[in-house]
Symmetry: C2
Subunit: 246 residues, 2 copies
């Protein structure tokens, strides 16, 4: 699909995904959000909670560090425990220091005071932010995410991740959201492949995909046309339907 939209990657940090304990959901949530606002997600990576691996991935993915994509979104590793090393990794990747952020600290202290809780030293670790980064404040957690270079660093806890995504959305360089049309046919992929290819060639500005499925013993294929121009997408879908006779 041709587009001038910004490109993006998501970096998920978490042993619990790699061990199979947790099914990743944050990248799936964000992928839908990015698609809806016209940012082209090109890659997702999941790495362990190890500082060197995180540093390397950030450098490979954030264009301000010579990486491949316009924008990078991370999930996970910014909590209060010993295995939360994302903030240090980001500081290292960007070659900046890290220290207590007074604004983050004030937010967190206010939240705790309202609850009558005395913060632990460990909780305060969540106010350690790479120097020069902007905070990502959000509705759910007083502990913020942060934004440095083209990298947006967010929490792994799904409710907090979603709140942080909501918080950054107004500031993202949005583009033209693709629209899609789809049709289900009750036949195998290989029987529609010729027609799909012909339409894909005639509409090279669009993206055509086919996704086989089976439900309750019935087999079929979902055919999806995606693109930026609704009229082109409709025309391609009409052409496709006519060719396959549905």
């Amino acid at each position: 699909m041709q587009s001038d939209n910004k490109t993006a990657a998501i970096l998920v940090i978490g042993d619990e995904i790699l061990s199979g304990r947790t099914r990743e959901g944050n990248a799936h949530h964000l992928s839908g959000v990015l698609s809806a606002v016209g940012i082209d997600l090109k890659e997702i990576r999941v790495v362990a909670d190890e500082q060197d691996l995180i540093v390397e991935a950030i450098r490979a993915l954030d264009s301000t560090l010579g990486g491949r994509y316009d924008l990078l979104f991370t999930s996970g590793g910014i909590g209060p425990t010993h295995d939360d090393v994302t903030a240090d990794a980001v500081a290292q990747a960007f070659g900046v220091g890290i220290g207590m952020n007074e604004d983050a600290l004030a937010d967190m202290r206010a939240r705790w005071e309202a609850r009558g809780v005395t913060p632990t030293e460990n909780a305060l670790r969540m106010a350690r932010i790479p120097l020069g980064a902007e905070l990502i404040r959000n509705k759910v957690s007083a502990a913020p995410g942060f934004h440095i270079g083209n990298t947006y660093v967010m929490a792994g806890v799904p409710e907090v991740f979603r709140a942080m995504v909501e918080a950054i959305l107004p500031d993202l360089p949005t583009g033209r959201p693709p629209i899609s049309e789809s049709v289900d046919v009750h036949r195998g992929e290989s029987l529609v492949a010729d027609d799909l290819k012909a339409v894909a060639e005639a509409y090279s500005d669009l993206s055509l995909g086919s996704y086989p499925w089976h439900r309750d013993g019935v087999y079929g294929t979902a055919l999806v046309v995606r693109g930026l121009d609704p009229a082109r997408v409709s025309a391609a879908m009409s052409d496709l339907k006519r060719r396959i006779g549905v």
Copy 2:
């Protein structure tokens, strides 16, 4: 967690994951299987159905091509349509040719004949296999996956992916599966972080993780100890429980 287990990566190929249309499930399934047989999954990547990107990822991840991990498992892009480019990408990454595989063709023809179906040219594309690769036959689909170098190429359709995983499992270089113990505590992560860190330092051969959750308005943290030696894992968990008083 210290281990002599083989390391692995999963490469998921599919625009439908990146667009948010489909929630990825194959990597989650395989991550649990690998954990259970003592293979250490270190990275998951999702890239689009673009040959160059797939080639680059394979080279970065398969140790036989100078990549980082002992084993690489791929999902997706081996169907009959124009956007199925994984087999060509694998051939390119390994610097080998690609052609019709007679064994794959025979399997597929037999399946079609049994159903009274005449195969299309496109369906036959699924018998195009990089030269020198071994087929991954499976119970669900006559169209095979294949294995070349340390890379196992499997289908994206979940039922077929799972059948292919089952087919390769007996041949994988399995290791010592980690075992884990977990306990839920009704307090925030920052209140257990000191105890968690102390135990992590005392048991540096183990992996300790903490995963905040909330359900029905109740907040808590799951504490997980993982390692290869059940006695060490139990000892660390007892120590942790004693420290936090549960």
